[in-house]
């Protein structure tokens, strides 16, 4: 069997409210999986973790959808998605939303014709990839033609602030899409900003919301011992009930539990990534 079980942790847009604390897994997994040791390896961006998975130096990680897509595009056999999180409302995804200032008078994405659109960050699924792939459909024209100009706002939070300031006429960020808009939905970037007190949702209107974007998968290395793989899957599936504290510590946010997925669940996002980013 395996000696060490290596967990890759990545930050990203779908990240929990707090720095996540995987300590409970380090404590419990050895027994559950029959390994000697569990170690944690955080990385700066998707890429660190992805490279770890591709190189086989990590056994398990929770990726963003786009990050998984990249892994898949680079090497379809490197990892297997086994689970994904389910939100409190039962949905297994989140949305990219386009917000503008309320006093702009705009109510729909069609009003944005010729105006300036801000994306959050070139590396972001909801802030760039999804809108740039789906918006042409929604507005009926290529992004470059429909919008006057586009730019990057320097991260989700910053983008929204730029929109409020008027640098961009509208911007795309992520939100759970459930809950009250005035609260910034139940979770997501808008909510975080509201909680911090740096944003007043009454200043904003929502122009557009994307199709649901799947939550990122829990992936394991394909070459992992099948027995360990199964044990791990069971452990995770049971966690929300068996150890809700640990679950909320590693997931944060408004999640209810895990559900099983496979590669197909992410085919669309993989296709989008392939079309837009190329790999």
């Amino acid at each position: 069997a395996e000696k060490e079980f290596r967990i890759g942790i990545l930050g990203g847009e779908n990240e929990a409210d707090r720095l996540r604390n995987f300590q409970c897994m380090v404590d419990k997994l050895p027994e559950a999986l029959g390994v000697e040791k569990v170690s944690l390896f955080p990385s700066a961006d998707y890429d660190g973790t992805i490279q770890g998975l591709l190189g086989g130096t990590l056994d398990y990680a929770e990726l963003g959808a786009s990050g998984y897509a990249k892994t898949y595009l680079t090497n379809p056999d490197a990892v297997e998605p086994i689970l994904t999180t389910v939100q409190m409302d039962g949905s297994t995804g989140y949305h990219s939303v386009m917000v503008a200032r309320k006093d702009s008078g705009m109510t729909d994405v069609k009003d944005m014709k010729g105006k300036k659109l801000g994306f959050a960050d070139p590396d972001s699924t909801s802030g760039f990839l999804v809108p740039s792939v789906t918006l042409p459909e929604a507005v009926g024209a290529p992004v470059e033609e429909f919008f006057g100009s586009t730019g990057f706002g320097g991260g989700h939070e910053n983008l929204v602030l730029e929109v409020v300031k008027g640098t961009f006429d509208a911007g795309t960020t992520w939100a759970s899409g459930v809950g009250k808009f005035e609260d910034g939905y139940s979770s997501g970037n808008l909510r975080k900003m509201v909680d911090k007190g740096i944003l007043d949702m009454n200043d904003l209107v929502q122009l557009w919301i994307s199709p649901l974007i799947p939550n990122g998968p829990v992936v394991v290395r394909s070459t992992l011992d099948p027995e360990v793989k199964t044990k791990f899957k069971n452990f995770m599936m049971n966690m929300p009930e068996a150890d809700p504290e640990c679950f909320s510590a590693i997931q944060g946010g408004n999640y209810k539990g895990f559900t099983e997925v496979n590669v197909d669940f992410y085919k669309a996002i993989i296709a989008a990534r392939k079309a837009k980013i190329g790999s």
Binding site: R6, G8, S39, F41, A44, D45, Y46, D47, Q51, G52, G55, G56, T57, L58, K70, L73, T74, D121, P122, D123, F152, G153, G154, G155, E157, N158, E162, K274, A275, K276, I277, G278, S279
Partner: protein, 322 residues
């Protein structure tokens, strides 16, 4: 005394010296063994620790050492060229990977500047700008920190601690903070690098000032010059060549620093590099690395040449001063 025979008998003085020598050498041997021991323990402990806390284990990973290079091989060699100059690629499939012309920065009409050249210019500008800021503020602060010019001990103390903190404060934190407050891009990187530059140039400068010859200053004092005039005419002409030389060295360092800060959100070429690496755009990555390599060597050589002109063939002794 053709043949120095082993001494039958040494004079008392010699015998005493010999005893003393043996004592000393025993002590020295003990210290040497002890410090070598400590060093070895520290080294192996560190290595073990590093290996243990690393995702891949050193020996497991060695065979895969060049995998990353493998991923970096572009489809054809000309891709690098096209990526560098934003020329259309025959492999263009609608994705960003081969969409090189996308990044062109149009100057007039159809005359454009390739994206990475522009970004590189941005990085160089960040470096020059922050070096300038660091130079001016470091210049002002250094005289206040020099013990031969500032007699108030508390003032010196305060200025030196400020310089120290500016120097040691992690650049990414400053960059990260200003990315949050301002926006992503060049300015936070510039502020971060500038702040560090103030600290390190300030420190180097005041060491130069402290080694300055005070005769001219005394002469000016006797003329009735005030503090500012004494510094300006008595010290500045002496130290300026050294200051410039250090500033040039700093410029070199800052080009690198700006790249690094760029990679963690500070704009410029560093950001482009990180993005293209994380997106797996090999040709772009190689183009950027090539550009960086050429630029850094060019700046290196230029500043070495200029330094030589300014202060002659005087090597920098890092850590020469305590």
């Amino acid at each position: 005394m053709k043949d120095m025979k082993p001494p039958v008998e040494m004079s008392p003085a010699c015998a005493a010296t010999e005893r003393h020598w043996q004592e000393l050498s025993r002590k020295r041997r003990r210290y040497t063994l002890l410090s070598v021991g400590i060093l070895l323990v520290a080294l192996f402990g560190s290595l073990w620790f590093a290996n243990e806390t690393n995702a891949g284990k050193f020996f497991d990973r060695l065979p895969y050492f060049f995998d990353f290079f493998g991923d970096m091989i572009p489809r054809d060699g000309w891709e690098i060229w096209r990526a560098l100059f934003d020329l259309p690629s025959p492999y263009f499939d609608g994705s960003l990977k081969f969409n090189y012309p996308d990044g062109r920065v149009y100057l007039i009409g159809s005359l454009y500047m390739p994206e990475y050249v522009y970004k590189m210019l941005e990085t160089i500008n960040i470096a020059i700008f922050s070096t300038l800021i660091g130079f001016f503020l470091g210049f002002i602060l250094c005289f206040l920190a020099a013990s031969n010019l500032t007699t108030k001990k508390w003032l010196r103390f305060v200025v030196r601690r400020i310089l120290e903190i500016l120097r040691a404060f992690p650049e990414i934190v400053i960059a990260g903070f200003f990315v949050a407050v301002l926006t992503i891009g060049a300015v936070p990187a510039m502020i971060a690098v500038a702040i560090h530059t103030i600290g390190s140039l300030g420190k180097m400068f005041f060491e130069v000032v402290e080694n300055a010859d005070m005769k001219a200053d005394e002469g000016l004092q006797a003329v009735g010059a005030n503090w500012v005039e004494r510094v300006w005419f008595g010290i500045v002409p002496q130290v300026l060549p050294n200051f410039l030389s250090y500033a040039l060295l700093r410029l070199e360092i800052n080009v690198r620093a700006s790249t690094i800060i760029g990679a963690v959100g500070g704009g410029g070429i560093g950001e482009a590099l990180r993005l293209s690496i994380s997106r797996g755009h090999e040709a772009k990555t190689l183009a950027i690395v090539l550009l960086l390599f050429v630029t850094i060597i060019a700046i290196d050589q230029f500043s070495a040449w200029l330094r030589k002109k300014i202060v002659g063939n005087q090597a920098f002794a890092f850590g020469a001063s305590a």
